[in-house]
């Protein structure tokens, strides 16, 4: 137990924890929304995120090239990368809904089998990225591809576009630019999504379907559209998460989604699954506590801290910190 380390670096640990938590929270939105509407664990959502990280990576590498971008250019590159990640993740999420879920929902299949289908889809998506180079090799494209990035089976890093300079200091603790960007944009996106679901007509449809799918259908809500919308929104948020993750961590791999997906799902459950604000709270709490825990017990216990936190919280609040409420949310 390294208490002195924890107390000496408290502010820094908290801020990096919040940055991690923000990424968890954004991914958790995808789990929580799908769960709220369909009561299904969208196991393949982690791969939606993974594709977003690769979209960010490719876009940045293509745009940066060999030059060293300056101030305004950096901003443009970031915007393009963010857009690419959101488009790719959103598209993957929509495809996932179409091929892995809709056939099952139509047949009213047992819920567990949808989980298996999602697991299958998750394997397929991750492996498609993994075997990308072999397939490219068949068409003689491997060298062309390697000019940009090598195989997805090993860690690929992206050029550093946000200089890791200190933005400001609290006391003697340095708060870095990246962390601030990550936390602020994540919170911004979450507030935007929350308002969208609360105020827009589509959002009302989503909430109605979550609350009572049959009555919602009778009232003229197109349930297929609502489900598509849910997946799309989750995918877009995963794209944002992927972009922010790449800003902070800067490396990705074909199986990067697995652990992050589990963590994000944990965050969703922690905050109360099906509850958008719960995802934010759960993500931030998980990120911060995990960071403190790894400072206290050593980095190798990081994930153990996260899961023990989950078990302890569920023992005292069996439906998560804020409870389940996508359907019950009132404006």
């Amino acid at each position: 137990m390294n208490f002195s380390f924890l107390f000496n670096n408290f502010a820094e640990l908290t801020v990096t924890g919040l940055a991690f938590g923000a990424v968890y929270a954004l991914i958790a939105l995808g789990y929580t929304m799908v769960y709220g509407v369909l009561q299904l664990i969208n196991f393949a959502h982690s791969e939606v995120f993974m594709y977003g990280t690769f979209a960010t990576l490719w876009m940045t590498i293509t745009l940066v090239g060999s030059g060293n971008p300056g101030g305004l250019q950096t901003f443009g590159i970031m915007a393009a990368a963010l857009l690419a990640a959101m488009v790719v993740s959103g598209a993957i999420a929509l495809m996932l809904e179409k091929f892995a879920y809709r056939p099952l929902i139509k047949r009213n299949a047992p819920r567990l089998i949808a989980l298996i289908s999602a697991i299958g889809a998750s394997f397929v998506l991750a492996e498609l990225m993994g075997v990308r180079d072999d397939v490219a090799g068949w068409f003689g494209l491997r060298e062309t591809l390697d000019d940009y990035v090598g195989g997805a089976r090993v860690n690929q890093s992206m050029p550093n576009i946000v200089q890791n300079r200190t933005l400001f200091a609290i006391g003697e603790y340095n708060i870095r630019m990246v962390d601030v960007i990550v936390i602020l944009s994540a919170i911004l996106m979450m507030v935007g999504l929350d308002q969208f679901v609360r105020r827009s007509k589509t959002g009302r449809g989503i909430r109605a379907t979550a609350q009572d799918p049959e009555t919602a259908a009778l009232m003229g809500v197109n349930s297929t559209r609502v489900i598509q919308m849910t997946f799309l929104l989750g995918g877009l948020m995963a794209g944002v998460a992927a972009f922010l993750y790449m800003l902070k961590i800067e490396t990705t791999k074909f199986d990067v989604g697995f652990l992050l997906g589990i963590k994000a799902f944990t965050a969703a459950v922690l905050g109360g699954i099906g509850n958008l604000r719960g995802a934010l709270v759960g993500g931030l709490v998980l990120g911060v506590v995990e960071n403190w825990g790894s400072a206290l017990f050593g980095g190798e216990w990081r994930h153990v801290v996260a899961f023990v936190l989950l078990v302890v919280i569920l023992l005292f609040r069996p439906t998560g910190i804020l409870g389940e409420s996508l359907g019950k949310a009132r404006t």
Partner: protein
């Protein structure tokens, strides 16, 4: 009108003929049935010696693959009790498997020098206790929350093994004791030349020598345990306990009102499942003689669950088929190593979409589905009549 009648009668006769085979089997005299079972068992025991051309695995030891299949069968039977009978979604089953394996490893090699046969009961009891310890606080949590809690449990067990020196950390534990050998006689293998089987006098298996190279005795041990498990499973399923599990799964509140102490039965299902998982882990550790945390990745929990659900949760023969597919197919198609997982994932999706009840769903599910379809057909028929009258 007439066409619709003939269509329904057609489907009925079809389903009848499909049931017919099973019926004819069940209607056989008891003696013949027992004989058939014995023949099937003998064939299974002899399978690694026969090395049938299409079935056997080129490149990897067939006996070893078959042993892996039996381990998966055992695990699937155990998980079927938790998921299929009691309806508790457990995503961390590999945790129990790991506890069984690690207990044997610690007792026979790392911290003590016990013989294998003494360590197994301890390992199984330790796993059951861990099942109760995990279940007691978490089984009050319902549905999908249980899934994520158990998933966390599986990961905690693995990470604890990685980070604790007392458990051999990431390097693992080696020199785990093997079951005691009784070397009685040698059995020659077959090898196939074209379509003709020939005896191979150079390639023999010593009857019950649990050595390093020949995996077949382990397969025999595993198969025996699976057969014993199947008998036990049948006894439990048809007992009061099995009915209580099903009642709890179908409607927990109704079961509670009918006087079934659901929590206690869920805990029992959990620890029974843990028992079987621990046993499988112990066998696995002894065969490998070496374990490290990489043998207990979360991926295995998912594969185990896939075996149960794909095969048909709640039907012991179904989960055996599922376990066979999940364990055997990746080994058989090792040549496609790079595309193995991709094809496996596709297979899971296709199976899920085309056989949502699993390959061999339990008869109860089939009956329920049939009743549902008949109900729907009756309702539709009414509608059809109505419209016709209106026209």
């Amino acid at each position: 009108m007439s066409t619709s009648v003939s269509a329904t009668s057609g489907t009925k006769s079809k389903s009848k003929s499909r049931l017919g085979f099973v019926d004819r089997l069940t209607n056989l005299p008891k003696l013949v049935k027992i004989l058939l079972w014995v023949l099937l068992a003998l064939f299974l025991y002899a399978l690694p010696l026969l090395e049938p051309p299409l079935l056997s695995t080129p490149g990897t030891d067939f006996g070893g693959v078959l042993f892996t299949v039996t381990i998966y069968c055992l695990v699937a039977l155990g998980l079927n009790i938790v998921v299929g009978y009691a309806g508790l979604l457990d995503l961390g089953y590999v945790g129990f498997y790991a506890i069984g394996a690690y207990t044997v490893a610690i007792l026979t090699s790392f911290h003590a020098n016990w013989p294998f046969l003494l360590a197994v009961p301890v390992a199984v009891v330790a796993t059951m206790v861990s099942g109760v310890l995990l279940g007691a606080p978490t089984l009050r949590v319902r549905g999908d929350y249980l899934a994520i809690v158990t998933l966390g449990f599986g990961e905690i067990i693995r990470l604890a093994a990685v980070n604790t020196e007392w458990l051999g950390d990431a390097r693992g534990i080696s020199k785990i004791d093997r079951p005691p050998s009784i070397e009685l006689f040698e059995i020659p293998h077959l090898f196939w030349e074209g379509g003709t089987p020939l005896l191979d006098p150079d390639d023999t298996t010593v009857f019950l020598e649990f050595g390093v190279l020949d995996q077949i005795p382990y397969y025999w041990l595993g198969l025996t345990v699976v057969i014993l498990m199947l008998i036990a499973d049948r006894l439990i399923k048809d007992s009061r306990v099995g009915r209580a599990w099903e009642a709890t799964r179908e409607d927990e509140d109704a079961a509670e009102l009918m006087g079934v102490p659901t929590f206690r039965f869920k805990l029992l299902a959990f620890s029974t499942g843990a028992f079987v998982g621990g046993l499988a882990g112990a066998l696995y550790a002894s065969r490998q003689s070496f374990i490290n945390p990489l043998s207990f990745l979360l991926l295995f929990s998912i594969l185990f669950l896939a075996a149960v659900v794909v095969g048909g949760q709640g039907n012991r023969w179904g989960v055996l088929v599922g376990a066979f597919l999940v364990a055997y197919l990746p080994e058989r198609f090792r040549d496609f190593s790079e595309f193995r997982v991709l094809v496996f994932g596709l297979a899971l999706m296709v199976l899920a979409i085309f056989r949502p009840e699993g390959l061999l769903p339990p008869r109860r599910t089939l009956r329920a589905k049939q009743a549902g379809q008949e109900l729907a057909a009756a309702e539709e028929g009414d509608h059809g009549e109505e419209t016709r009258v209106r026209v």
